[in-house]
Symmetry: C2
Subunit: 201 residues, 2 copies
Amino acid sequence: MAKPRARLSRDDWTAAALAALSEGGTAAVAIEQLATRLGATKGSAYWHFPNREALLRATLARWEAEYTEAVIDLLEAEADLAVRLRRLLASVLEHRQGSAIELALLASADDPLVRAALRRVSERRINYLAEQFRELGVAPAQARHWAVLSYSAYLGHAQLARTAAGSVPSGPRAAREYLDVAMQALLAGTDRHHAEPAADA
Amino acid sequence: MAKPRARLSRDDWTAAALAALSEGGTAAVAIEQLATRLGATKGSAYWHFPNREALLRATLARWEAEYTEAVIDLLEAEADLAVRLRRLLASVLEHRQGSAIELALLASADDPLVRAALRRVSERRINYLAEQFRELGVAPAQARHWAVLSYSAYLGHAQLARTAAGSVPSGPRAAREYLDVAMQALLAGTDRHHAEPAADA
DNA sequence: ACCTGAACACCGTTCAAGT
DNA sequence: ACCTGAACACCGTTCAAGT
C-alpha cells in the first residue's frame, strides 16, 4: 500500500499505530496490518519492539505525552473559571480533533494497558478540575466530589456520543441548551448559580 | 475442564459466553476457549451458530433481555422519585451484581454489535429518566437534557470505576458525601434543591 | 544495525464423516 | 439432529540468514 521505505524508526511504528488506534481501536494495532501499511515485514516490528504489547505501550505513552494536557491547555486559554467547565463539556459535544483517539481508547478499556493510561490521565484531569472548584469557592473536601461528577459527565458524554450518537443533543441550538442545563447542575454548589449562556459560541 | 456433556444447546453456549464476557470482555468470547470449557469441540458451536458474530449477537440479545430493565426495576421499587436518582448513581458506586457484564460491555464498545446493544439500552433508560424529571416538575424540553446529564454521570462513573477505581469515592462515608453532591447537582433544576441525605443507606 | 523469509502456535471457519 | 477431526487462513512470535 504505502511506498516501501528503506528503514523504519520506532516513531514510524508508533505513528502508524496511533492512526490505526483512532480508526479501529486496540484491535487495529495488529503488527501484520501495520507492516503492510508501512511497506515492511513483521520482522521489522520485532526489531524495534520485543512484542505487540511493547508497541502498544509505546503508542499509549506517546498519546499520553501529546494529548493528556490537550484538554487542560484548551481550558487554560480561557480566563473565566466558570466558562472553562462549559468548554470541557462542549469539547465532547463538538467532537474536537484529537478526541478520536481518546474515544477509541475509552472503547478499548478492555485492555489493561489502555486502562492504565486512562487511569493516569483521569487522575491528572480530576485534580485539575478540583483545583478549579476550589478557586470557585467550594470547600476542598467537596471540591473533589464536584470534580469527579464533572469528569464523569464528560466521560459519560463521550461514551454516549460514541455508542448512542442519537441520544445526545445535536445541533448548535440543542447543544447550547444542554450546556446551560449542565452548567446549572455543575455549578449548583458555587456562588454563581449558573454561568452566562456563554460568549464563546 | 468442565465435565463433557452429551449434547449442548444454544443456551449453553450463550451462558458460557455471558460468563466469559463479564470476565474478559468481548475478546474472551472465543469459540475455541468456550468449547474447551464446555467440553466440546469448535464444530459444536458452528452447528448452533453460523459464526462467532452470531454467537456474540445472541449473547448480547440475552443480556439485553435479562438485564436492560434491571436498573429500571431497581428504581421502580422506590416510591420517592428523587431518591430514585440517588439509587441510580449509588448502584454504580456499590458495584451491584449484574453490573460486571455492563462494565465489560462498556469497555468493549469497540465492537459494533456491542455498540448497538448499548445504544438501545441507553435510549430506553434515558427516556425513563426524562419521564422522572417531568414528574419532578421540569419542562419536557429541559427534562431530556437533565436525563442525558444524569445518565452521562452514571456512565462516566462506571467508566471511572473500571479504569480508575482510585479516583472514585470509596467507602460508605465518601460515597454518601459524593451522592449528596451529585443529587444537589442533578436536582438543581427542580423544586427540591437537594434530596434528603437518603434513608436508604 | 536493521530487515527478510520461513516456521510454528492460536483462533475463526469449513466440511466430510461419524453417531 | 448434533458433533468430531482434519484442514486452511490470519496474526503473534521466533530466529537464522541476509544487507
